[in-house]
C-alpha cells in the first residue's frame, strides 16, 4: 500500500503545489488523481517515485519511507507511463520496452524475450519489434509506453495522463486494454488525469483535487457521482452525473416483456390480437428487424435502434436505448443478438428508482461498470 501522509510541496517562490495531502492508495487497484490543471496531481504522482521531493510530510511504500530508499532502485521498482509515451526515439520498439530490464542487468536475450511477451500482452504486433517510434501511430506508441512500464514486472505503476494526447476512439481502446491488463496483472496503479469520465471509468478509488493541491473528495466513483462532497466536486463532475451514475447499476433486473415481439412470418390473427401500440418484428433467427406500428400494413418498419444486453450492459445503456428508440421501448438481446424482450422507458425509470434505494448509502461499484461510458456521452 502507498500511504501519502499530510504531504506538502511548496516551491521556493512560495507556490504551493500540494497542500497537506493525505491518501491511502490500496494495493492491486487503480487509484485515480483527477482535477483541473494546477491542482498538483502530477506533482503528487512524481513525489511517489521522488522525481519531486516533498517539502513536508512522508510517503510510505509498504510502510517504508520512500525518501529513505535509494532513488534509482525505487524508480526501477515502479513503472512509469507519461503523456505522449516519451519513447526513446533512437531505440527500436523492443529495445524501448527492454529498457528497465537492461538497467537491472538482465541479459540481452532474456530482456528481448520479455519485450516480445509484453508486446503481445498490450496488443502490439510482433513485427513492430524492430521498428522505431516514428514509424508507429500515437496509440501504438502509447501501448509501447505501457509495455515499457510493465517490463520489469513492477508492483506499482504510475501513469501521468497517459491517454490524453490520443483521439477519443483510440483512448477508449487504450482504457479498455488497461482494464483488461489490470484484471490479469493486478498492479497497484496511480493514474493521473484531468478527464473525470476517464477517472470514473478506470478508478477503483478517485481522488478529486482542487487548485492549490487540496483534496476535495476521495471516494469510489459511484459514491462520487451519488454524493459529491461539495459544490466544487459537483461542478467538476458535470451536469449529467445522475445519468452517468447509472453506469454503475446492472440492467439484469429489468423486467422484459415479449408480448410485443413477433416473428416476421407470424399469422395475421396474432398481429390483430396484439395490444401494444408497437410490435417488434424479428427475423427467423430471432434477431430484431424493426418496429411495426399497430394497424400499419407492415411495409415499412421503424428502426429498432441500438439494442442492449441485460447483465453485460448497465442501466445507463438500457436507458440510452429507450431514449433513442423511436417507440420509447428498448430492445434487449442476448450474446448472439437474438431478442430476449423489450422494456419501456417507464419500466426502466422504476428500475432506476429501485436501484437508487437499494444503493443508498453505499452503491455497489462493480456491476457493468465502465462498459458504456461513451454511449450517451
Amino acid at each position: 500500500m502507498i500511504r501519502i501522509d499530510s504531504v506538502t510541496k511548496r516551491y521556493p517562490d512560495g507556490t504551493v503545489a500540494v497542500d497537506r495531502l493525505s491518501l491511502e492508495i490500496p494495493d492491486r487497484s487503480i487509484t485515480v488523481l483527477v482535477g483541473p490543471s494546477g491542482c498538483g496531481k502530477t506533482t503528487t504522482l512524481r513525489m511517489i517515485n521522488r522525481m519531486v521531493e516533498p517539502t513536508e510530510g512522508t510517503i510510505l511504500l509498504d510502510g517504508e519511507d520512500v525518501q529513505r530508499q535509494p532513488v534509482t532502485a525505487l524508480r526501477r521498482s515502479m513503472g512509469y507511463v507519461i503523456q505522449n509515451a516519451g519513447l526513446f526515439q533512437h531505440r527500436t520498439i523492443a529495445d524501448n520496452i527492454a529498457t528497465v530490464p537492461r538497467l537491472l542487468g538482465w541479459g540481452k536475450r532474456r530482456a528481448r524475450e520479455r519485450a516480445a511477451e509484453l508486446m503481445e500482452r498490450v496488443g502490439l504486433d510482433a513485427s513492430l519489434a524492430g521498428r522505431y517510434p516514428y514509424q508507429l501511430s500515437g496509440g501504438q506508441q502509447q501501448r509501447v509506453g505501457v509495455a515499457r512500464a510493465l517490463a520489469a514486472d513492477p508492483p506499482v505503476l504510475l501513469m501521468d495522463e497517459p491517454f490524453s494526447a490520443v483521439d477519443p476512439v483510440v483512448r477508449k481502446g487504450l482504457q479498455d486494454e488497461l482494464l483488461r491488463i489490470q484484471d490479469e496483472l493486478g498492479k497497484t496503479i496511480v493514474f493521473v488525469t484531468h478527464d473525470i469520465d476517464e477517472a470514473v471509468k478506470l478508478g477503483t478509488m478517485v481522488a478529486v483535487l482542487r487548485e492549490g493541491g487540496r483534496l476535495a473528495q476521495y471516494a469510489p466513483p459511484a459514491e462520487l457521482l451519488s454524493d459529491p462532497a461539495d459544490a466544487f466536486v459537483e461542478d467538476f463532475l458535470g451536469a449529467d452525473r445522475g445519468i452517468r451514475r447509472l453506469s454503475f447499476f446492472t440492467s439484469d433486473a429489468l423486467e422484459l416483456t415479449t408480448d410485443a415481439v413477433i416473428p416476421a412470418d407470424a399469422p395475421a390473427e396474432r398481429l390483430a390480437a396484439a395490444e401494444a401500440p408497437y410490435l417488434l418484428v424479428t427475423d427467423a433467427e430471432g434477431r430484431p428487424l424493426g418496429w411495426r406500428e399497430r394497424g400499419s400494413d407492415g411495409g415499412r418498419l421503424l428502426s429498432h435502434g441500438r439494442p442492449f444486453r441485460p447483465g453485460t450492459d448497465s442501466l445507463r445503456a438500457a436507458l440510452d436505448c429507450a431514449v433513442l428508440s423511436p417507440t420509447g421501448w428498448a430492445v434487449a438481446v442476448d450474446a448472439d443478438g437474438r431478442v430476449t424482450g423489450v422494456v419501456s422507458q417507464q419500466t426502466i425509470g422504476e428500475a432506476i428508482r429501485a436501484a437508487h434505494s437499494r444503493a443508498e448509502p453505499d452503491p455497489d461499484p462493480d456491476p457493468a461498470r465502465g462498459e458504456d461510458e461513451k454511449v450517451a456521452g
Binding site: V71, L74, A85, L87, Y134
Partner: protein
C-alpha cells in the same frame, strides 16, 4: 622537372606525407575539442546558468588570433605540431559546445522524464539518451569544425615547418612556383570535402531511427553554424 607534385626537399615530406600530416594536425584537435565539449555541454545542460558564460568564453577564445597563441605556446611546446593543434582544438569549441548543448536540449521533456522515472542517473541519461538523440546536431557541428580546422592548419607555416599543406604555399612563394600554391589549395579543398562526406555517411549510419524528412530538418542549425564558422 618542376612538376605539380614535386615537393621541395626542405619540406621533408612527399605530397602524400604532407596530406597525412595535414589530416593529423586538423583532425586530432577536432577530436580533442569533442572530448572537451561533451562534458562541458553536460554541465551546461545540468546548470543552465553556466551556458552563457561558457559560450562567451569559447567565443573569446575563437577571437584570439592563432599567432598570439603561437607566441605564448612556443615557450612551452616549441615549434611542434602541438603548438598548432592546441589553438585549433580551442577554436573547435565555439562550434561544438553550442551544437552539443542545443542538440541535447532539444530532447523532448517527456523523453527525459521517462528516462529519469525509469532510474537513469544524470550521466547515464546524458550518454544513453540525450547524446544519441542529439547525434545529428553533434555531427552537424563536427562538419563545420572539421572543415574549419582543415583550412586553419596552414597557419602552422608561420612557426616554421608545421603548416603541412600550408608549408607548400610558403614554398610556392619562396621558390616562385605558383603551381605548388595551386596544389596546396586544391588538396586542402579535396580533403575538406572528403572529410565532410565521411561525416555525412557517419550520421546516416548512426541515425537509422530518423524519419527521412527529419534528416533535412536537423540540417537547419548547420546553416547558423556555417555563418559563424565563415566569420573567421
Amino acid at each position: 622537372m618542376n612538376g605539380f607534385f614535386d615537393i621541395p626537399s626542405d619540406l621533408q615530406h612527399s605530397w602524400a606525407g604532407l596530406v597525412g600530416v595535414h589530416l593529423r594536425e586538423a583532425l586530432l584537435p577536432v577530436a580533442a575539442g569533442l572530448l572537451l565539449a561533451l562534458p562541458l555541454a553536460l554541465l551546461c545542460d545540468r546548470f543552465r546558468w553556466l551556458y552563457p558564460p561558457v559560450l562567451g568564453l569559447t567565443t573569446v577564445l575563437y577571437a584570439v588570433p592563432s599567432l598570439a597563441f603561437f607566441v605564448v605556446l612556443i615557450d612551452w611546446t616549441g615549434q611542434s605540431e602541438l603548438t598548432v593543434m592546441i589553438p585549433l582544438a580551442l577554436y573547435s569549441l565555439v562550434v561544438l559546445v553550442p551544437a552539443i548543448a542545443d542538440g541535447v536540449r532539444s530532447v523532448p521533456d517527456e523523453t527525459l522524464s521517462a528516462a529519469t522515472a525509469m532510474g537513469f542517473g544524470p550521466v547515464r541519461r546524458y550518454l544513453q539518451v540525450q547524446l544519441p538523440v542529439a547525434a545529428p546536431a553533434v555531427i552537424a557541428g563536427l562538419r563545420v569544425a572539421t572543415a574549419s580546422s582543415i583550412s586553419l592548419v596552414s597557419v602552422g607555416a608561420l612557426i616554421g615547418n608545421q603548416g603541412a599543406l600550408g608549408n607548400l604555399m610558403a614554398a610556392a612563394q619562396k621558390y616562385d612556383r605558383p603551381e605548388l600554391a595551386a596544389n596546396a589549395v586544391l588538396t586542402t579543398a579535396v580533403l575538406a570535402i572528403l572529410c565532410d562526406a565521411a561525416l555525412v555517411a557517419l550520421r546516416r549510419a548512426l541515425t537509422p531511427w530518423m524519419p527521412r524528412s527529419g534528416r533535412e530538418r536537423t540540417a537547419v542549425p548547420r546553416e547558423e553554424l556555417l555563418a559563424k564558422g565563415a566569420a573567421r
